[in-house]
């Protein structure tokens, strides 16, 4: 079947035909179910910049609240060609491929130390990445032959995490932290980076952070080599660590 190639310099959503810009939205307004509520929803979409806003469905959620499903045409387009290849947009390897890759390129195990640092009591993220049980049907790094993992658990002070990482000769430190708009959480993440610098180990350790709001952009600001967010599976992290360490070893000879 012949498929028309999309114009990647002006990418926009589509539903019926390419370029129609059709978007479906759903939201709740804190106003009683009424025609006025419907008008408010239509005007809201117009103000958001959508053309031809349409109410597909609306109903009373509870007294004083109305729930909407809407359509609107998005007039904005994105030049996808400027975004392609950005950062670690890598093809992930399967577990077997990772094992083979590490044997071939490194010939030894990759040592990873992980923890939830500071006052963060959530260790779910780090457990999902490191422990055998893993996440989403994929077991964690502990289950790989090519990784040697140390999971220090939660509420670990940065100095203790770093001491352990140096002691076991870690290739990578993985920290998980719930980032909020409060400064405290990010400052705990930057402190680890600064301590690694102070110990003269920054060139020898890959630093990765993970958490529900951690993007590559935030990782860059924090001084980490990569950031992993929701939806990350252990083999994504494993692929990154294997490739990055191999690149570093190749660069230093």
């Amino acid at each position: 079947m012949h498929r028309e190639q999309p114009d990647l310099t002006a990418v926009k959503p589509y539903a019926d035909h390419r370029g129609d810009g059709l978007v479906q939205l759903s939201f709740t307004l804190p106003v009683p179910y009424s025609l006025a509520a419907r008008r408010a929803a239509l005007e809201l979409l117009a103000r958001m910049g959508f053309e031809a806003p349409e109410v597909v469905h609306y109903e009373e959620l509870t007294e004083g609240y109305t729930y909407f499903v809407m359509y609107g045409r998005c007039v904005q387009a994105i030049d996808f060609t400027t975004l392609q290849g950005e950062g670690f947009d890598i093809e992930y390897m399967s577990e077997d491929e990772i094992e083979r890759f590490v044997t071939e390129h490194l010939g030894r195990r990759i040592v990873v130390v992980g923890a939830s640092t500071g006052s963060d009591t959530h260790s779910v993220g780090i457990d999902a990445m490191l422990n055998l049980k893993g996440y989403h049907g994929h077991h964690g790094l502990e289950g790989y032959r090519c990784f040697e993992t140390y999971n220090l658990g939660s509420q670990v002070p940065n100095s203790v995490l770093l001491a352990r990482a140096i002691e076991v000769g870690a290739d990578a430190i993985l920290v998980s932290q719930t980032v909020t708009q409060q400064n405290l959480h990010v400052q705990n993440l930057t402190e680890l980076v600064e301590m690694v610098e102070a110990e003269g180990k920054r060139g020898q350790m890959i630093l990765a952070c993970g958490g529900p709001r951690v993007s590559n952009e935030l990782a860059k600001e924090l001084g980490y080599d990569a950031g992993f967010s929701k939806g990350t599976e252990p083999q994504h992290l494993a692929t990154f660590l294997a490739r990055e360490l191999a690149a570093r070893v190749a660069a230093t000879g």
Binding site: T82, I166, V179, Q181, T190, E194, E217, E221
Partner: protein, 361 residues
């Protein structure tokens, strides 16, 4: 003017005490002054600069970074391409960041650019040297969040510190937090006038990149401590080390000095009624938040640096985005009362802008 205060530093680091303290605004102001004076500038960032929206709170719009033709910049291939500003590639580094590989380029035309250079201190030093080598008269190294590593004398020749209302809703807390940070940045140099001090210096040189720690006596006699001692030792282990060298005057720490260690050490020294001076490589190796260095000094625990840093100015952002605001003049007056010997500026205030206009006309 910032340009006059900072002209002595060929490699100038901009360091914030937190996010949204106005580092990028300070950078943009200094760039305008340098460009008006016709100086060729190189710019890099340990984080990311010139992005439109804050990475954590998208409600906060960020200042853009405008550069004139001829400026040098270290940023990633993608960001340079996305800027649409014509540029000449000077060097392709092997620095990989989460946002792509870092290039050093010279702009062929003016424009606004997102700047994201290397994060690691040694790589920041390398790209700064590259830009100086390609004709930059001064290199500006912008910080990120509260990261300080680029202000190490091993990387830069001086720093400008940025503080702001975001540190606290309580103006007096903002003032003392800023004073503590300034004191640390101006950590006094160890005077090399005793056998112990000469011993500390020689030992630090001998350690080199192998960071270590040692207790040093009056006569320069040293007791090396176990690897990672300062990062992980508990009270009993510290007490044991102090007992092993009862006449130690100095404690040399090449690597990181966390506050946990300072507190344990202080408790023991009080009990033993012993004075001790801790010597670190430079201020970026010290991690304090509960107390400043003058508080520790008041308790008998002095701190010294082998390599002092040079604090050239303090900029103030009286506005905490999405939160509160202080009166700029009042805040600066309070800071001036608490902190001596450094120029304190609000680059967005009417009086600063006026002085800038007067100078350029």
């Amino acid at each position: 003017m910032l340009i006059d205060l900072t002209s002595s530093a060929r490699r100038l680091a901009l360091v914030g005490l937190a996010k949204n303290t106005g580092k990028t605004e300070t950078l943009a102001t200094l760039l305008r002054e340098l460009q008006a004076a016709g100086r060729t500038v190189g710019v890099t960032s340990v984080g990311r600069d010139g992005e439109e929206r804050d990475v954590i709170d998208a409600r906060i719009a960020k200042p853009r970074v405008s550069l004139v033709a001829g400026s040098l910049v270290a940023s990633t291939d993608e960001l340079l391409r996305a800027s649409g500003v014509p540029h000449e590639l000077l060097e392709q580094t092997d620095v990989r960041t989460p946002l792509g590989r870092v290039l050093v380029a010279r702009l062929r035309g003016p424009g606004t650019i997102e700047v994201a250079g290397p994060s690691a201190a040694s790589q920041v030093r390398a790209v700064s040297e590259t830009m100086l080598g390609h004709g930059a008269e001064q290199v500006l190294i912008d910080g990120a969040i509260d990261r300080r590593a680029a202000s190490s004398p091993e990387v830069s020749d001086g720093l400008v510190m940025a503080t702001g209302a975001v540190l606290s809703e309580d103006i007096s807390e903002l003032v003392w937090r800023t004073r503590d940070a300034v004191e640390l940045a101006r950590l006094p140099a160890l005077e090399i006038d005793t056998p112990a001090a000469r011993g500390a210096l020689a030992l630090a040189r001998a350690h080199g990149e192998q960071r270590g720690a040692a207790l040093i006596g009056e006569d320069g006699e040293a007791l090396e401590l176990a690897p990672r001692f300062v990062l992980s030792a508990d009270a009993a282990e510290i007490a044991h080390a102090l007992d092993a060298h009862p006449r130690a005057q100095l404690l040399l720490i090449d690597g990181a000095l966390p506050e946990r260690f300072m507190q344990e050490l202080l408790t023991l020294l009080r009990r033993l009624r012993r004075p001790l001076t801790v010597v670190v490589g430079d201020a970026t190796r010290v991690f304090l938040s509960a107390h400043g260095i003058s508080w520790y000094a008041g308790q008998g625990l002095e701190l010294r640096a082998l390599r002092p840093t040079s604090l050239l100015a303090l900029t103030v952002n009286p506005l905490a985005p999405q939160s509160h605001r202080f009166d700029s003049a009042e805040l600066r007056a309070l800071l001036e009362d608490a902190i001596e010997g450094v120029a304190i500026l609000d680059v967005c205030s009417a009086d600063y802008r006026e002085a800038q206009r007067a100078l350029s006309s």
